[in-house]
Symmetry: D2
Subunit: 350 residues, 4 copies
């Protein structure tokens, strides 16, 4: 692989767009050659169009790159997309229809019947669903999505249990970081010394995306997993890292050691294919009594692992535990990049 | 009532002790005349012994009062106690054995068979249990306790539903304020930009105290309510106010309006007796989509009301909602003061 | 005074507008009878037009009141104004020209030559400057302003020293609360775990407003005080309360006790006239080694006192100390209300 | 250099001790072979003795290492020390007297006449002062110190200006991170939503250490620089990163460009010697109007660079600006490691 695949970033100036640029700076397979954003930014050099909010510098090459409008003309074939949902709904189909591979973090198309919603470790085998897209059949373009930042950590932790023991019921209460709301996002007056017990549409997304992700591809459609979930979504004064208190009921009984083994041994397509962004260990169990914690554990597996702790029996269901995942890496830009890598490894990007 | 009852504060220099002093400053029935603390503080004027952390000034009379050791000699009959659990276990029985009415916020004696664990609105009728105490029979002294700061808000909100519809199962995931851990309590490096998914013994306390509080006094013992709870306790970067995400299953079906009515109409002994510290409305339902919030709702009912919001159906049980209560007022000092008022109103303090 | 003066609130839905409504709810002289806001809000009931962010409920009468557009027609004579600066620059003159008394917190007109910039305790004698306004001469309308939230605490603390010893030079470095930026104001991603060393125009405002406030009215113009200031303005993760580290040089030498006496004895027009919103003690010196602190001291004097602490010699100038004041009460709505009371007491509102 | 120098960590379980272990994990010259701590920890494996608070894992080799008591017997010759000041005062001299090279972050010995207080970029030429130590003459042991975490950023930024233009007067107001107080350190109730305007002895340390650091070695003693400083030290709700608002007066006039050039071109001994921990650019000027900020800039130069911003004229002195430095890397463990590297490079550790 001596030549990198040129990729474009749609929504390049936003919070997730910035993460794409940061994470792709040293990527062995992909090279950012095109930036797209709203008309307000179009025509400006990137550093002028964007209020960079990450604690590493803007890559030099990107800093001087001119931002384009959000139209397919002139864009490379492979697009990582980070538009807000309303814009995505309108713009992403245009790119797919023009023959682009749209690998998107937006929620706009996630629940569409012919759009794969994928976590490579969990349901990489759903990718062929993209062949049913009209875009694919007409132009070779397609859209592939990754889940909501609050669903991804949960599903990574449920997947190995679902395979071995079957997951029946899940109660989950989240404590989500402000970076999940983008920038400017949550006003500081709303979150300093406070908790907000509401994130628009988040509970519904967690519930329905989880079923689609753990479902099975049956020819040309995904049969959702028969799991009942009840989610409570809260925003807390944390910069990065979504925490989740989980209780779950399994089909088959399982001992604590079996559960921990299922998590610790969980390896999958991305690990076998040695995808560059795949964490060595997708789910890490930490046996300390007071872990995981965002400040201490958020960067495990370079932000791509889900961390679980406090496994203990549940009085109502079978087991209780706590999940942490990095919401802007594993839960957004990193998720899409790993989808892109899987697409490449399986021949969808050539 | 032209003469106030003299009361003492055990553990007067700690966080809850300070709240007792603050809340009792203008109390119509009680007057603080004695302060007790560890030997380290004994003999010093209060302001010297104590690092006052509240945002109202130390009452002038208290400021100059000398602190006594934690021994019954010289203490008034009525004692509000705020010792840490280990000290309480040793010291509170000495006071009760010496004939004092010990109204305590400590967890040390809460689950003892002959010690009433009381929220006046919920189970004021458990008070007669104190007559079974050996101390009471021998010297007239006794101990009465209030629940853990995380249990009290939950139980206030469950009680009216339990009466009308029967509560069967409860999931609860908490987001608790740092003031619940006292002072110095939680190190700032542990909580800034962080969530700690563990509070020692807290989940067990919530589960067992809730059953005792919602149980019934059967002659000389309390029969715990047959409710199954599963608690997840988390610490967040909030100064005051415990938030709780709750899912519950009822015996009898209930409509949303019936549930809201049960909460809004909930009035009880303290309201009927017009106890000075009783909130007009013990449970307040807020219909806004994003309430309650600690910063905005913590002082409703002068910090003595529990606030509920986001009532919506639960996919697993019947209903989901969010609860907030003030952990150092309703959840600690205010709870004990209301217990003291009920004891007084019912003739136990004369 | 058996009938209250009807007043209107311009910019009623914003953060300072909400404070006006909260603070005026029980006011003995003024009664809010009119609400004005942008066209977007006009015609809606207040609770619908406004996202109320204070921790006391919207006064019932106000909740149902319809919001008007920001035009003078139909508005009462006395207007408290809380528009943002750009809107104020355009709208406030229209109200003054239509005969209204515009008592404003906005920065728009503060430095205009014929507009009094007033802290009642400091320079209430500047009020007659309003008679030089063309509006006043033509219609009886006028505009009176209060200073920036960061200037007001500093100037209250400088004023008694300036009178007794003369202030020559002032270094000030601020740590300002997020509420000073209004709502939504500072994004949480910008301030959690962070300090922002920049607030647009704030340093210039502090420097020039201080000189005007401590200046003297010379016939028909204000001669600014000959004080040199150098301000450093920073934003920190505090909800309410601006802190300021100050070094100052005096004309005449002064001992620590003389300085503390100057602060403690400082009483002025508002105290003599017993204006309802006047704090008993405008400047409070706290001798504790680690005070003032926002969380503990912000509400002294009901949020209308400036609190000073840590007086100690300065190696460069004469003295160093720390100042705290409540930025949305003393620094905004409360400041304007006190201006309104002084105007009323001196016959400008009849 | 094919064999690493064995080093010991004194105070290995504390916050700075942990940083030493983290930063030395991959060090090309030094290898941690010995851990010393209080008697309470002695005899335990490191992970048992220590509550690890960093967001990278404990190096495997260290995790299993047994902790020793804080006595020289059995310790390697080179010791990095991170004891609290009281312990350091007693223990460090024992190690030096026993022939060890004590490279310490503690304040205990910093201002002793024969102890070098060194920032390699600033006054590496003070190292020979250690030869005047009685310990050195008798056993070859010695002590070398680095400055307080609040002084180091300031002095790095002053040094290039002092060399070119002469620094006369400095006003500095700090906003310091909680990690500067160690662990458990600042209670969360003291800092959430708050500022503490006091850090014990910090202002004196900044003032006197700065003069010693910028002074000159005159044979066998350091002549302090003739600079007058006035420091205001404040604690804010930031995890890592000390911010400082600075005004300064120079001997010789300097233009903004000259000052920025002095900073940007500042290279010194550690850069010339290519010491492993030396940042490429010790002082980085950021021209953005709102920088530096802890969250965004703390890791520049791997936490070893000081970042300056907002250079603008000062009304009282010559120039105003803002300084940021990483208080536990450049301000503590990293500072000592760089001192160790300079000692090694100059032959003091053989």
């Amino acid at each position: 692989m001596n030549k990198k695949i040129p990729v474009g970033i749609l929504g390049a100036t936003g919070a997730v767009g910035q993460r794409f640029i940061q994470l792709l700076e040293q990527h062995p397979w992909f090279e950012v050659t095109w930036l797209g954003a709203s008309d307000r930014s179009a025509g400006k050099p990137y550093t002028e169009a964007c209020k960079w909010r990450l604690n590493t510098p803007v890559p030099e090459k990107i800093a001087r790159m001119l931002v384009n409008g959000a139209v397919p003309e002139g864009a490379p074939k492979v697009i990582f997309a980070a538009l807000d949902s309303a814009a995505a709904k309108e713009i992403e189909p245009k790119f797919a229809a023009a023959g682009h591979a749209v690998i998107t973090n937006s929620s706009a198309l996630r629940m569409m019947e012919d759009v794969p919603l994928v976590i490579p470790e969990v349901n990489g085998d759903h990718l062929p669903l993209l062949k049913t897209q009209k875009w694919y059949q007409e132009t070779g373009g397609f859209a592939v999505t990754n889940p909501n930042c609050s669903a991804i950590g949960l599903v990574m932790v449920l997947a190995p249990l679902h395979r071995r023991f079957g997951v029946e019921k899940v109660f989950v209460s989240t404590m989500q970081a402000v970076s999940g709301a983008g920038y400017p996002g949550v006003p500081s007056l709303d979150i300093l010394g406070n908790v907000i017990p509401y994130i628009a549409n988040e509970e519904q997304k967690m519930e329905e995306e989880t079923r689609k992700l753990l479902g099975s591809l049956n020819g040309t459609s995904v049969v959702p997993a028969e799991i009942t979930l009840s989610a409570h979504c809260n925003r807390v004064a944390v910069e990065d890292g979504h925490m989740e208190s989980v209780s779950l009921k399994l089909h088959q009984p399982a001992q604590a050691e079996e559960i921990i083994a299922a998590w610790s041994e969980f390896r999958c397509l991305p690990q076998k294919l040695k995808l560059p962004y795949a964490p060595e260990q997708p789910v890490i169990y930490d046996p300390a009594p007071d872990r995981p914690q965002p400040r201490l554990d958020i960067n495990r597996g370079a932000g791509m692992s889900a961390v679980v702790g406090r496994l203990r029996p549940c009085n109502l269901f079978d087991w209780r535990f706590t999940v942490l995942s990095h919401n802007t890496i594993r839960g957004a830009a990193g998720a899409a990049i790993l989808n892109g890598e899987l697409l490449k490894a399986q021949g969808y990007l050539s």
